[in-house]
Structures are given as structure tokens and as C-alpha cells.
């Protein structure tokens, strides 16, 4: 960390900063709803609750909505949709693992040949104010992938909690501009950055264990764990990296016009690979479980030289039958 890229903000000043930014930005931040934390659009600083390890749901719906209109059609015309809220957004309090997921979306949706405008319009309008972890969840294993760390260019501001406030690291020109604009709220760090301690994850997924996947496609272990699987899709819904989708036409009452939406779909369901004539390519449950884990830890790496999984542990936390990816990999 270079000194000129660091600043310090006191807790009370963070309140002033966020309140000021709310005048020109839509801000999405962690809020408490009943007994879980989720990302939501905030009206006031006091809506934010930073007393969380990680949110139950990742912020993916703000970039890839659960349901999204891609165009409207009538008899003979098609009107392409755009993200019409031109208001700039800030996502505040996003954990480094979830920022890494965003970088994966960029790889999938912003390739040179077929860039996705619906994603790009949201992505380019959003500033990333990330928040380093001060604690590990029961099933966190991000340190196994190094996704607990962010490098410059991958965020705008990165907050780390220290005594009385936050050390703020600047990761982009846009982040720098924000600090400049509100310079009276920021102080020099005076060595407070030395207080930031790296959080050790409670769980570890070893590289040598992941390597076993190269030879374990036909292992019986998949069948054993799949017996517990309910195909409920909790893993894919709460996974920050699961971005598979499908399309559906919603017809207006005139029966002529309507809209095509794209919506999340899950590889854990049979219908995902169904083709004409009712044939299903992954009809057995173990094949679907295996496909998900191979995609996270093997296939994406072969294509993009990086693990898709960021180690957030949500799939383990939220599985009703406690299917544990780390356990499976170890047992292979």
C-alpha cells in the first residue's frame, strides 16, 4: 500500500460522506432484514448495518437482475430495452470475494465478440466501495484462492475498519475524485493502516485437493452426496458466480405485444438441459451436482485460467441438507 493512495475517515464522517453522496448517487449497501443481512437500496445512512460477516445473498441481482426485460415487441416492431435509470450508483460494503465475482461477470459478459449491453450499462454506472472483512464466516475459504485481496483497478475505494474509523484505499481515478471532492472529511492515516490485520478463513480448500478433480469425474463420491441433494437451487441462487439464465416471453392482454425477459435459471434443475423430444442430458442428480462443482473449480479455470469459485461459502451455509463442497473435494 502506498501512502498517497491511503486516507482515513472517522465513523461520524462516513455518515456525512454517505449522506452527501446520496444526493447524487443511488447507494446499495448491507441492511439488516429480520435476521439476515442483504444488499438493498438505502434512503439514509442509518439504514446501513455493517455488523455482518457477509450478506446472505450476494449483490449479483444489481448487475444481473433476477428478471430483466431485454426488449418489448409488438406486431412487427422490436424495441430494445436500456437501463433507463441513468443515475449513477455506488455499491458500498461489498466484500472482496464478491468483487472478484464481479470481475468474473466481466469475463463472461464483456468479451470482445458478444459484449452484453444490459450488464455493461449497470456495471459502468456503479462505483465499487468495498469493505474488507474483520471476521471469517463459519464456511469462508476465500484465502485459499486469494480472493480476500483486491488489486488496484478492481475497485474504486476499499474500506478497512480500524479504531475510530476506516482506512480507505484508493483503487481508481473515480475513487480519487470522490476523496478530493470531500477532502475535508478525510485525514491522513497516521500509521493506522498498520492496524489492519489479515483475517484467516476458518476453512481451507487446498490446491492439491482441487487437482483431484482432473481424475475424479467418474468417482462414486458424486452419487453419495447427490443422494442428499434436493435440487432446491439454494446453492446456485446464493452463489455470487452462478449467472446462468434463460429467456421467457410475457404476453400483454392484447395477445399481440409483450416483452421478452431474461431470468435466472439453475443447472441443478432437469429442465436446464432438456432439448426437443423431452431428452434431458443431465437427468441424474449426481451429474448436476458434479457439473456445478466442476464448473466452479475446473471448467472455468480451463477457459479463463482462474477459479470461478471465490470461496464465500454461501453454498455450504445455505444448503438445507448440508452438502459441503469442501468435504466432497476432500473425499474424492
Amino acid at each position: 500500500m502506498q501512502q498517497e493512495n491511503l486516507a482515513f475517515i472517522e465513523k461520524e464522517n462516513l455518515n456525512i460522506l454517505i449522506s452527501n453522496l446520496l444526493q447524487s448517487y443511488e447507494i446499495i449497501a448491507p441492511v439488516k432484514k429480520e435476521d439476515i443481512h442483504v444488499f438493498d437500496r438505502i434512503e439514509n445512512f442509518k439504514d446501513i448495518d455493517l455488523n455482518f460477516v457477509n450478506t446472505t445473498f450476494p449483490p449479483k441481482k444489481y448487475f444481473l437482475p433476477h428478471k430483466e426485460k431485454i426488449f418489448e415487441y409488438s406486431d412487427k416492431k422490436v424495441k430494445i430495452s436500456h437501463y433507463n435509470e441513468n443515475k449513477k450508483r455506488i455499491i458500498f460494503g461489498i466484500r472482496p470475494c464478491d468483487v472478484h465475482s464481479l470481475l468474473h461477470y466481466d469475463k463472461i459478459f464483456l468479451d470482445d465478440e458478444f459484449p452484453d449491453i444490459y450488464y455493461w450499462e449497470k456495471r459502468k454506472n456503479t462505483l465499487i466501495f468495498a469493505l474488507n472483512c474483520s471476521d471469517s464466516g463459519e464456511n469462508c475459504f476465500c484465502t485459499s484462492f486469494g480472493t480476500n485481496k483486491l488489486s488496484e483497478g478492481n475497485f474504486d475505494l476499499l474500506f478497512s475498519e480500524v479504531s475510530q474509523g476506516y482506512v480507505v484505499e484508493i483503487g481508481s481515478d473515480k475513487g480519487k475524485e470522490i476523496i478530493k471532492k470531500f477532502k475535508t472529511l478525510f485525514l491522513s492515516t497516521n500509521g493506522k493502516e498498520n492496524e489492519i490485520k489479515e483475517v484467516e478463513c476458518k476453512r481451507i480448500l487446498k490446491e492439491e485437493d482441487i487437482k483431484k478433480l482432473e481424475k475424479s469425474f467418474h468417482s462414486e463420491v458424486w452419487k453419495k452426496y447427490a443422494e442428499k441433494c434436493l435440487s432446491c437451487c439454494s446453492c446456485t441462487i446464493t452463489c455470487p458466480n452462478c449467472t446462468c439464465f434463460g429467456f421467457r416471453d410475457i404476453i400483454n392482454l392484447d395477445l399481440k405485444s409483450g416483452k421478452r425477459i431474461r431470468e435466472w435459471q439453475s443447472c441443478q434443475l432437469k429442465i436446464f438441459t432438456k432439448v426437443a423430444g423431452e431428452y434431458v442430458f443431465r437427468s441424474e442428480r449426481y451429474k448436476r451436482l458434479r457439473h456445478r462443482i466442476y464448473h466452479q473449480l475446473h471448467y472455468f479455470k480451463k477457459r479463463f485460467n482462474e477459479y470461478l469459485c471465490v470461496g464465500c461459502g454461501r453454498c455450504i451455509d445455505n444448503c438445507p441438507t448440508k452438502i459441503d463442497m469442501i468435504e466432497i473435494i476432500k473425499e474424492l
Binding site: T243, D249, Q265, V275, Y299
Partner: protein
């Protein structure tokens, strides 16, 4: 949006739609065809023309049934072409063996029409086509023309599983036909499309005739929803059928498993 220029009834369940859409495509590539209110499906192009595309579509689900209800002059949405087709232009000066079953004959027709156009640049062309019954044959008149018109110099073998009294061509599964005929494995390629079971046994037969994996091309069917490698539906292992396929060289394709 593109206009349907002409509709040809092929069989009881299959129609070929000629669509006013000028695409530069390789044989074996596919498009996504939309009927609003119903949805979108991936369909391989069965023609090879600069003026239009033809799509041979079996009526099986919601969207394909909606397409079958359309009339000449109606509009459909077309996106594409997508994916990798048969690398036919890289096979010049070799023998081409085309093996197709049922609906799988549709993308291969695009290859055959290509070969018709550039016939001089290829050596022997053997075409093996299999259908369930005489009533299930696609492009019936055209196939007879390929058989009987000497100027194409195609060796066409047509077989059906269930014969009728009037049937004058081969009988039985396509593998039997493939076994019986002499095919040169030197400087040859086999281009296939059809039901998985047919592909499996035809590959065995070709291997018995000393074909190497690299000489065999297969086309895979999957649920290609987006066509551009994003939606995840067509993934098999680390491959996206819509980007890396649908046509795969068998040396690569044989390792793919769901």
C-alpha cells in the same frame, strides 16, 4: 425481423421454412429463431445460399409448434449465425463421407449444397442417409436428384428402418449400410449428424474401417439459449456447444461427457 418467403412440407411433422435473411454462414452453423409470445429456439441452417436461409423444423415443443402455425409472409426473428460449422472449405481435394439420420440430415444438406457448388474441388462424395420410414424422409425429391443426376457425381445411399411395398432403396439401420459399402479411409473425412445412438455405432464402424478420430466430425445437440456462450445451458465440460461447436472434431468430442 425477417419474412417467411416459402414453406415446404417435408413430412407430417417437419416443414422447411425459407426466410428472407441474407447470412454469410458455414454449413453446420445455427441461428436462433423467435416467434414472439412463444420464445426462441436454436435451429441449424439447412440451406447454402446468399439470398435466403432455410430452416427445417420438426414440430416438438411450444416454439416449434408456433412456427408450424405460421404462414408464408409472416415474420420471425432471426439471430446468428452462431457456432462452428463443418470445416468443409479446409477439406478440399479429399473424399467426403456424409452420414446423417432423421432430422440430422438438415445441417448436412447445407454441406451437400456447398459440395454441389464446389464439386470440382473435392474427390469422391458418399452420402449415407437414414430415416425411420419412407414417410419420414426429408428433402425427398432433392435426394432423388442427388442420386440420379450424374453431373453431381454423388454416391447416395438411402435407407429406412421400416419399408413399404413400393420402397426401392436400402433397408435397415444406417450402420449396416456403412459397413457394406467400400469407403476409402485415406485422405477422407466423415461428417455426421443424427441421433446419439446412430453417431455412436457409426463411429464404431468408421473405426473398423481405420478412420482416425481426426477424420470424423460430429454435430452435437444441446439447449443453446443465448448462442453466445453466456447462459450456460449448452455447457458440456468446459465447452460451450454454441461457441466451440455444435460441430466438433471427434478427437475433441469423444472426451465430452455430461
Amino acid at each position: 425481423m425477417c419474412k417467411i418467403l416459402k414453406i415446404f412440407n417435408e413430412t407430417e411433422t417437419i416443414k422447411t421454412f425459407r426466410v428472407d435473411c441474407k447470412l454469410n454462414h458455414d454449413p453446420g452453423q445455427f441461428v436462433e429463431i423467435s416467434v414472439f409470445n412463444f420464445g426462441e429456439v436454436p435451429i441449424s441452417i439447412s440451406s447454402f445460399s446468399k439470398k435466403y436461409i432455410e430452416l427445417s423444423i420438426r414440430r416438438v415443443g411450444r416454439v416449434t409448434n408456433a412456427i408450424h402455425r405460421l404462414k408464408e409472409g409472416d415474420m420471425v426473428g432471426i439471430r446468428g449465425p452462431y457456432g462452428k460449422g463443418y470445416p468443409i472449405s479446409e477439406m478440399k481435394n479429399s473424399n467426403i463421407n456424409i452420414i446423417g439420420g432423421g432430422c440430422g440430415v438438415a445441417p448436412l444438406r447445407s454441406v451437400i449444397l456447398y459440395l454441389k457448388k464446389f464439386r470440382k474441388e473435392y474427390k469422391e462424395v458418399n452420402i449415407f442417409l437414414g430415416f425411420r420410414s419412407p414417410d419420414d424422409i426429408l428433402f425427398k425429391k432433392e435426394i432423388e436428384d442427388w442420386m440420379n443426376n450424374n453431373k453431381f457425381k454423388f454416391n447416395v445411399y438411402l435407407t429406412v428402418d421400416k419399408v413399404t411395398d413400393e420402397w426401392k432403396y436400402e433397408k435397415g439401420v444406417i450402420t449396416k449400410l456403412l459397413e457394406e459399402k467400400e469407403i476409402d479411409n485415406e485422405n477422407s473425412y466423415a461428417l455426421m449428424c443424427g441421433p446419439p445412438i446412430m453417431i455412436k455405432y457409426c463411429i464404431e464402424t468408421l473405426k473398423n474401417k481405420n478412420f482416425k478420430d481426426e477424420q470424423i466430425y460430429i454435430s452435437l445437440e444441446r439447449r443453446m439459449k443465448c448462442g453466445i456462450g453466456k447462459c450456460g445451458h449448452c455447457m458440456i465440460n468446459d465447452k460451450y456447444v454454441c461457441l466451440d461447436g455444435p460441430v466438433f472434431n471427434y478427437s475433441e468430442g469423444k472426451f465430452l461427457e455430461d
